[in-house]
């Protein structure tokens, strides 16, 4: 029982616990809080795998921005207790949903444990095999060389998302000042401009 293992077990259990609580909460704010709990635990797992940078970025991006946005929306819409989870589905359909998810989980377990990925690699915070594993430099180097193209594309994606979000969420205003000019007006302009010449 080493420290690594203890940290792993604790954070893994917390991550799973937080995720479960998140989906079964009726109160969306509590959901978000559990999601943060799960996220921070996951960040710990990342860092244990040597991904210090990505772990920090995960917290900054998710906890610092995305989930605050969720909270902001929840508070803006003032959602308190929402309706009962899945109240109007029949128990059978509910069961089916759990069954399907469970099957998917089992299959994934099978993939992990099966012959698809045979792992004898052991992990720990202090034993990375390449020198600067998980460092900012190494991630940045990949992003700006090998994955430059996808990286640039994601910037376009983000821009699109921003524009899309603004357009979707904007209140439609009834008084758009669209001036409708008579058709020949710019023809007249053209003529007068020509006359001026």
């Amino acid at each position: 029982m080493t420290l690594d293992l203890v940290i792993f077990i604790i954070s893994a259990l917390t991550a799973i616990f937080g995720a479960l609580m998140m989906i079964f909460q009726r109160n969306p704010v509590a959901s978000v809080m559990y999601m943060i709990l799960s996220l921070v635990s996951q960040a710990v797992l990342y860092m244990q795998l040597g991904a210090l940078f990505i772990g920090a970025v995960l917290i900054i991006v998710y906890a610092g921005a995305i989930l605050v946005l969720f909270l902001f929306v929840i508070m803006m819409l003032n959602l308190r207790q929402t309706e009962d989870m899945d109240s109007d589905s029949t128990p059978i359909s509910k069961l089916a949903k759990f069954l399907v998810s469970g099957l998917l989980f089992l299959e994934m377990l099978f993939v992990v444990r099966g012959s698809y990925f045979q792992s004898s690699v052991e992990t720990g915070l202090l034993s990375p095999q390449i020198d600067d594993f998980g460092s900012v430099e190494s991630v940045a180097e990949l992003l700006f060389t090998t994955y430059l193209y996808p990286f640039e594309l994601t910037s376009i994606l983000l821009l699109t998302a921003i524009v899309g979000a603004v357009v979707i969420a904007r209140k439609p205003s009834n008084e758009d000042p669209v001036e409708i000019l008579p058709f020949d007006s710019d023809d007249d302009e053209f003529k007068s401009a020509k006359a001026a010449e």
């Binding site: 995720a19 969306p28 969720f70 989870m85 949903k97 052991e122 994955y147 990286f151 994606l157 983000l158």
Partner: protein
Amino acid sequence: MTVPIDAYLVVGAGLFGIGVIGVLVSRNLIILLMSVELMLNAANLALIAFSRALNLMDGHAFVFLVLTIAAAEASVGLAMVITLYRNHDTVNIDRFSILKW
């Protein structure tokens, strides 16, 4: 002794499964969106784990890109939630059945 990589993958699989349950079961659109984020995170965890196992940094780069997509998804998703709420006064996903016929 250290933690074998499989353990991380199992955790990732578990988180993914929980995310799937969340998408299928929850009626609150916001929680549904968060479940999707959870699934993305589960995939990220697996990517990091593989990255470590193979001693390749590429996984990290992918996680970075996935984070970007998650952010984009969240922003657009929340914008849609706000619009839907404005028009229907609810975020209960079962109320939105205009996809029908």
